[in-house]
């Protein structure tokens, strides 16, 4: 996994709530068996509309998605995270993420940042007024920064549990970490009751 320390980039303000993962990447894209090549499927249905914010020339190359509440609801498809990353997003800001989406994001190094809706509103205003405005997401300081057109600077702190933050900062792979506890797993397995189900005779 790619480490995430801090990122600065232009933003895409997405004023929609309840963006489910079927919207982020429609089901027919799920037939692919790789982790890349999903960028053209990102928000596919909405991108047919030339006015959709992602299609505007001034948003090209943006890497911070500022989304509405309840982002990533619905299907558990990790393809939604890959599609956002393949397209070039490094971080997504919202006042509320669906649990599975958030878990998938953090495992892939896509930082999901939870901020109050009032701050998200402010970020929408700033980045709509000035498409060149940059947002900085600093994981070391747990802080989001944005320069408003009036010269002021918006600063907002965000929370992320220490363990997830440590893994992201160091780009650590969960499986190797878990396998360090192999002895604990073996001890647990040895004590498991015999009535527990098995799919095949071991």
């Amino acid at each position: 996994m790619e480490a995430f320390t801090a990122h600065t980039g232009r933003a895409v303000p997405l004023r929609r709530s309840n963006v489910d993962t079927d919207q982020i990447i429609p089901a027919h894209w799920l037939k692919k068996v790789t982790r890349d090549g999903f960028e053209d499927g990102l928000f596919e249905a909405w991108r047919k509309d030339g006015d959709f914010v992602l299609n505007r020339p001034e948003r090209e190359g943006a890497s911070v998605l500022v989304a509405g509440p309840d982002f990533g609801t619905g299907s558990s498809r990790e393809h939604a995270v890959w599609a956002l990353q393949n397209y070039g997003f490094r971080t997504v800001i919202s006042s509320r993420f669906a649990d599975i989406f958030r878990g998938n994001s953090l495992k892939n190094g896509l930082l999901t940042v939870v901020l109050d809706q009032a701050v998200v509103d402010r970020l929408w205003e700033i980045t709509e007024a000035d498409p060149t405005a940059e947002i900085t997401v600093d994981l070391e300081k747990r802080q989001v920064l944005a320069d408003a057109p009036d010269g002021s600077t918006l600063t907002a702190a965000f929370e992320l549990d220490e363990n997830a933050r440590w893994r992201l900062l160091n780009g650590l792979d969960d499986i190797s970490l878990t396998l360090q506890n192999e002895a604990d797993i073996a001890t647990y397995e040895a004590a498991r009751p015999s009535h527990k189900p098995r799919t095949i005779d071991a």
């Binding site: 799920l30 990790e78 599975i100 015999s194 799919t199």
Partner: protein, 475 residues
């Protein structure tokens, strides 16, 4: 202080607990399907890791499989490639697989319970959000992403932060016309699509205790549509009776030991939930959705709501967008909405009781002109049982199409899709934009409402049929 059901099952699976780290949980059962597993197997291959516990892993094919001509090669080359990838992965790693054409094939969440693999007090995961279905047995069951699928394949564990607990207590008697589907749709409309976020929901109360095992699965299945991590129902005699004698249910002394353990899986009287919701069963009515998320629902007797009536700005905006997408206008009675397609199936309502319920409504009646009705059993076993009971004949005599088992039009990854602008009444779980086909419009309903809707060609309950049949003047 006492513990809740969820906390008991959680505690029984902690492999390792350390300050400042998520708990490492042991996983009792890992279900796989073709869509969310290829990249996970690839990861194993790259790292040179085996599947740790083949005896706790099982795969089936469901999302991409066709429901017609299943003996012919799959027409869509991309779907075919994905199924072939699963077959190769299972063969290479030694995973038990039930492919298309096998008698145990079907929607993964129908297959696990019917084999008796889903048991009380187990942890069940699958790369699929509707894994919450298995919570109906008092299992702790949740959907995971592909990275976690790889993690479970490699380690049989998952690091997880413990969610909070929510009790949804439903007391009293459900009115005759009200099904488990109506109940869960009403719950989601009440708490919202984010209402369960961060929680494991336990459904309890006298109305829940009276539900059959399959109805309980319908409820737990849609926990994810309320944003919850999982949904659970305490196991009881209904659960034990359902499991006894199934292929993978324990036998002999193991059965006795299992039941003794299962009986301990109840929330203690002095346990405290982090949140509680209470619902009066008697107040419920048949429920349908009008919008593009499962929380946008209303009783069938209501009208399409006016977005202006929402105080919350983002809800108002969401309602406006939904009406536009759905081609509906505020104030239109829900019963006046006509449909093109009716879909009975999915892991929400594709089990034998669901097919019986739909059949009992449509028996002796006809699907309305111009309406297409698809009946897709949740698994091959369900299909065989239905045929044995003659339900397939009831459906085909009414003019419905009887199809092969799979996910089908629940998500339209196979050829079963809505055309742009087409409208469906569907017993599935998601009415998202384009879920059943690009531009398709979905109303979520119970099997009974689906069948009545097929007959009248507009959203309807079975009660509307008997009225429609009574000649004018005769009362």
């Amino acid at each position: 202080m006492g513990r809740t059901l969820a906390e008991k099952v959680w505690d029984d699976h902690v492999v390792r607990r350390a300050e400042g780290e998520p708990d490492l949980l042991f996983i009792d059962l890992h279900l796989l399907h073709e869509v969310t597993s290829p990249q996970a197997f690839d990861g194993l291959r790259q790292a040179g890791r085996p599947v740790r516990r083949l005896d706790l892993t099982i795969a089936t094919e469901d999302h991409n499989t066709p429901t017609l001509d299943i003996d012919k090669p799959i027409a869509d080359p991309v779907s075919r490639a994905q199924l072939e990838t699963l077959r190769k992965n299972c063969a290479d790693f030694g995973v038990r697989l039930h492919p298309l054409g096998d008698v145990e094939q079907g929607v993964v969440h129908v297959v696990g319970p019917q084999l008796g693999l889903t048991q009380p007090g187990t942890t069940v995961v699958c790369g699929d959000s509707h894994t919450s279905t298995h919570g109906a047995f008092g299992a702790l069951a949740f959907g995971i992403g592909t990275s976690q699928v790889e993690h479970v394949l490699a380690t049989q564990t998952l690091p997880m932060a413990r969610p909070r607990t929510m009790a949804i207590t439903v007391e009293g008697e459900l009115p005759d016309s009200v099904t488990a589907k109506d109940l869960i749709l009403a719950i989601i409309a009440r708490i919202g699509t984010g209402g369960g976020q961060g929680y494991i929901i336990e459904y309890r109360g006298s109305a829940i205790e009276k539900l059959s095992m399959e109805a309980r699965m319908t409820i737990c299945n849609m926990s994810i549509e309320a944003g919850a991590r999982a949904g659970m129902i305490a196991p009881d005699a209904t659960t034990f009776d359902y499991l006894r004698g199934r292929d993978h249910a324990p036998t002999g002394e193991d059965w006795d030991a299992a039941v003794a353990y299962w009986k301990t899986l109840r929330t203690d009287d002095d346990a405290v939930f982090d949140a509680e919701v209470v619902i009066d069963a008697a107040e419920l009515a048949p429920f349908v959705t009008w919008g593009t998320n499962p929380g946008q629902g209303a009783p069938l007797s209501a009208s399409v709501p006016d977005p202006a009536s929402y105080e919350d700005a983002s809800e108002r905006h969401a309602a406006e967008k939904a009406l536009e997408y759905m081609g509906l206008t505020a104030g239109q009675p829900l019963r006046a909405i006509s449909v093109d397609t009716v879909f009975v199936g999915s892991c929400t309502n594709g089990r034998i009781e669901d097919l019986r319920n739909a059949a009992s409504v449509i028996e002796g009646r006809k699907v309305a002109d111009g309406v297409r009705m698809l009946v897709v059993p949740g698994s091959v076993r369900v299909a065989l049982q239905a045929v044995e009971e003659g339900l397939d004949k009831v459906f085909t005599a009414a003019g419905a199409e009887w199809r092969h088992a799979g996910c089908s039009m629940c998500l339209g990854m196979n050829p079963d899709q809505l055309a742009p602008g087409e409208r469906s009444a569907s017993t599935s779980n998601r009415n998202f934009e384009g879920r059943q086909g690009k531009g398709g419009r979905t109303h979520l309903v119970s099997p009974q409402v689906a069948a009545a809707t097929a007959v009248l060609g507009r959203l309807a309950s079975p009660a509307d049929l008997s009225e429609a049949r009574t000649p004018a003047g005769v009362r």
